[in-house]
Amino acid sequence: MKIYVCVKHVPDSAATITVKGETEIEEGITFLMNPYDEHAVTEARRLKEIFPESEIIVVCFSKPGAEGTLRSALAMGADRGILVTTGHRHDPIMTARVLKTAISQDGQPDLILTGRESIDSEGMQTMFRLAHLFNIPAATNVVQIETAGNDVLVSCEKEAGAREMLKLAMPCVLAAGKGLNNPRYPTFPDIVKARKKEINIIDFEKLDIPEPESRVELVCLAPAIEKRTPKEITGSTTSIAEQIVSILKDEARVI
């Protein structure tokens, strides 16, 4: 099985993001693999444990600094990487075309895994556009994957507590949700091995992808300032615990 995993190089969610000019951010911060993509890489590795003849190829379209993110994916178990480098920001239409071209030039995918969204632009559309370009099915927020012959059975989380079971023919695009697995992070020996794995670096211009007829353009970035309204929880220990559970359940809706 040939498993392609698309990963994105994003700012660390813990970093302080400073807007520079109209559409840029200060880039002297930590960039790393999009956290949802970590679930996708981990799942690819799990599938390879079941189908040991599989090959896992990570693909990334980004600035040249993204090699670090690819090395992380290689350390997490991918076999080799493809990095299409660009100096500019591109919209999901172009990103999907680039990923499609890079994957097609490399081989025949049996499975394409992505994260369900990127934590920086949160567009949630690249995976569908990619599936469309390949003319293959897609499912998102996938929390369970089972293979059944030429099909995959997946469980997708729709909202807290509700899941949908889908059967998709392979090849297909599956976008990983948080509940899919616990990311398996690399150990030092994994990191050493990853240093020697191959990364094919391709210049975006050389792919010669025609300019799409329409595009999404980023006009302006503005910092979102969240207002915090702390609330003191008082009462007996039991009552405090009950109140916290009720907040997590009814307000935050995380349990």
Binding site: Y185, T187, I191, R195
Partner: protein, 445 residues
């Protein structure tokens, strides 16, 4: 009329709070002022709160070992005060000092013998019996992952370590300072928060009082600088004090990482504090079955001396601000990853960035100053948390003796430690000393 106190302590961290406590016990009417909202919320909050006895000098070992007794008997030390936030816990895990080229462990062993520190010598097998996840190859010298030789295969093995059963760490350093504040208040001490000192007033070579940011003046004949990373700024406010110090202090940026323990290792319950000079790391368990990974500041790592106000405001840019840096995350985690080959290193850095109040020789300044009534407990250099209760006792005695007429510069105060019974020449910590080249010039002290 300005309010008047017998002594004002600047800083309510883990060094300032015990000084207030001990002075209050001696009958001084004290006021502690701190720019933060509560006790221990400055650089104390970023402390790893490790309690270990290995230091590079015999006095350092003795001082730390004296401190053990306070942590082991915390409730008694606090005179059974009630703190509504609960009490900090001493996690008596025991402490392993790996024998390595990075530590002068033979000296430490001699100091242990001289001071009477309880310890055992462990060979590699014994270490592995207690910490089965370790790879005890020698990785020396310490390098950075950017250096290709970082990845070289090791050949030699280490030669065991020294185990000190009374060592460990305090689970919540902020809370420990808060506990001491409550104990001090029970003895009559007063604490004032959200108050920034902007002026040290003096006349005729004597301290008169302090002025706060809002213009409030408070009078006192005694001011004690326990301002942590801001110590040099406070010294500069006091007439002739900064100029009169041969040993100066400045703020050093420091990163500490949290990395999950290998899945099959219950580090939080079965783990030890470990100092490993071979890889330049120290570790202790952290909530969530994490490894807390500190750095022993090897020469190959960058040292960033920063302005504390800029740092805490998040300024200074990559590697100088209060955000973890990816490079240092990799350096510290990969170093530990060599020692623990099953340690999983997440892609996202997690940890704490804070400041050391660092002296020129990494040994603190516990002293009077060239300004009458102005005292200093500064330059704690990331290695004095464990000593804080002892520092409180010693500083209170030093201040009391000097206020009663002792010329500490000519005739250094001799401090008798309560538990070990050892005498210590407080002149060892003098601001006028020459740089102490016996020091490790690192967090090891």
């Amino acid at each position: 009329m300005n309010k008047k106190y017998d002594a004002i302590i600047i800083g309510a961290g883990v060094i300032g709070a015990p000084i207030a406590y001990e002075l209050a016990k001696k009958g001084y009417k004290t006021l502690s002022v701190d720019k933060r909202a509560d006790a221990g919320e400055g650089s104390t909050a970023g402390s790893c709160a490790i309690v270990r006895a290995h230091y590079s000098t015999e006095d350092g070992v003795a001082f730390a070992y004296e401190g053990f007794k306070y942590w082991l008997d915390w409730e008694n030390y606090l005179d059974h005060v009630v703190d509504e936030k609960g009490l900090a816990k001493y996690m008596n895990t025991g402490s392993i000092l790996i024998k390595s080229q990075g530590h002068k462990w033979q000296d430490v062993k001699n100091h242990y013998d001289a001071v009477g520190v309880k310890y055992e010598e462990w060979d590699n097998d014994k270490i592995l019996k207690h910490v089965p996840v370790l790879d005890l190859h020698e990785f020396w010298p310490i390098r950075r992952p950017e250096d290709p030789t970082f990845f070289d295969e090791p050949e030699k093995k280490l030669e065991g370590g020294l185990f000190c059963p009374e060592g460990g760490y305090v689970n919540d350093p902020t809370l420990s300072a808060h506990n001491i504040m409550r104990a001090a208040e029970a003895k009559g001490a007063t604490f004032m928060f959200n108050a920034e000192v902007t002026e040290i007033r003096s006349a005729d070579g004597k301290v008169q009082g302090i002025t706060l940011g809002d213009g409030t003046q408070i009078d006192t004949p005694v001011v004690v600088n326990c301002a942590g990373p801001h110590s040099y700024k406070i010294n500069q406010m006091a007439e002739g004090v900064w100029e009169g110090c041969n040993i100066k202090t400045k703020a050093l940026r420091h990163e500490v990482m949290y990395c999950p323990s290998p899945e099959d290792y219950d580090y939080i319950n079965d783990g030890y504090h470990q100092s490993d000079g071979d890889i330049g790391c120290y570790v202790r368990p952290e909530t969530g079955n994490m490894f807390l990974i500190g750095s022993e500041d090897p020469d190959c790592d960058p040292q960033e001396w920063v302005d504390p106000d800029e740092f805490y405001a998040g300024k200074g840019g990559h590697g100088r601000d209060n955000q973890l840096s990816e490079e240092q995350w990799k350096a510290q985690c990969y170093r530990l990853g060599r020692r623990i080959p099953t340690l999983q290193v997440p892609n996202q850095p997690k940890g704490v960035v804070d400041l050391y109040d660092c002296s020129d020789d990494w040994i603190p300044v516990y002293d009077k100053s060239d300004l009458g009534g102005f005292y200093m407990a500064i330059g704690t250099s990331g290695n004095q948390y464990k000593n804080a209760p002892v520092v409180g006792t010693m500083m209170a005695e030093l201040i009391d003796a000097c206020e009663k007429g002792l010329d500490h510069d000519k005739e250094p105060f001799q401090f008798t430690m309560k538990y070990t019974g050892r005498k210590m020449d407080v002149g060892f910590y003098s601001r006028k000393r020459e740089i102490n080249y016996n020091s490790s010039f690192s967090v090891n002290g």
